[in-house]
Amino acid sequence: MDTLRFLLERRADIAAQTAEHLFLVAVSIAIAVVIGVPLGILLTRKPSLATPVIGFANVMQTVPSLALFGFLIPIPLIGGIGNTTAIVALVLYALLPLLRNTYAGIQSVEPSVVEAGRGMGMTDLERLRLIEIPLALPTVLAGVRIATVNAIGLATIAAAVGAGGLGNSILRGLSMVDSRLILAGAVPAAALALAADGLLGRFEKWLGWDR
């Protein structure tokens, strides 16, 4: 009851932080998709690059987020204190699921289907556009879904470098040992993650209809 009243008192703060949080996640996922999906497709055409590139994305995934911020801060242009550092870090974390799912999705398209396209005289680009990408789409979307849910959780750390978001409440709550304040950040973050997961899941289903 007390907690509920506290959350109500803070609703303006929580709403503002949720908006900042969504902004960080949306921008970084958009950038990660623009980089990750074409790169994943490129890797299926140049398989020798696949191991090092996916390996790099794998390594990024293992760097603890606070350490990654620490590395980024001194770098000019992409580092510093504020949104940029947070977005760069979130993009780096989102790359792995996007790259791997795009690559695996296209690799797993039945070779005989691709062969049929070739038999019909399709060029490489046409096969990609008309056969491989449509068939790989569910796997790519699953990658977007994983990356988004991950990013919503990770973006709570962005408050450490002054990028705002729901992590603000969580870090303040931790410094004051005030669990209500921690909840004020953690509950909306969890709700956002569930909502994003649900929406993207529905989108996947909706796309699946005409198959």
Partner: protein
Amino acid sequence: MNRFTKLGAMLLALVPACSGERPVVVGSKNFSEQVILGEMLAQLLEARDVPVERRLNLGGTFICHRALLAGDLDVYVEYTGTALTAILKETVSHDAEAVYRRVREVYRKDLGLDWTEPLGFDNTFAIAMKPEVAEKLGIRAISDLKAHEGSLRPGFGHEFLEREDGFRGLVAAYDLSFKNPPRGIELGLIYQALIEGEVDFVAGSATDGLIDKYGLTVLEDDRSYFPPYDAAAVYRPSTAARVPALAEVLELLEGNLDEAAMRALNRRVDDEGRAASEAVASFLAERGWLGAGAK
């Protein structure tokens, strides 16, 4: 001398630990000065062959306080003003002596904890700006911020944003309302954010070595908003009774660390990049405090 004596001292320190004697647990909050003070307590105890467990860099005032209350810590250094307003939730007073007496009394009576005499320095909050920005805008004191509340961008540690004697009290005392909401930034990064121009002013500590290093302008607290923050060790009396060397170490520090000494120590760590343990060891050697029984 050094390596073997050090190893010897470490082994000696292990002996009582192995024989089941409970180590003295020393804590600190998560900024350099606190880690230095925790390290100082720990090294002084170890020089007296007392086994020590360091739990330094804990996440802030409230975590240290809770841990001390719960008996997970035996001693850490607290500031009178912080204890009065942030822990005991009492109203701000500007009489340093009265604040000290009040917190010691309440700690003894209600919490079963004790305070040493003040160590000798006042680590009050310092609102700092880049000197060129302060000069350009003609800002000398905190009340001068009023004229620029539409454009200035504040940035603070997360604890300052939440505690009563932090940002909320500051804007109330000076009747400020900033158009840009304050940015919450990890405490260790606030000076960097200021130097990079991400924010225009920050709240640091008066004893921060980085204020000297960057030559920052500290705004005058012209309405005496910030209470006195005299540093003193808070400890569990039962531990001091059990370990006489703890009482001895605490007494040694009372009144013996002034602001200049603390700032110099902070600077060794924050500016010169030395490890807290090493900075403290050389400081203690300079003062001749490591010889057992030295006073």
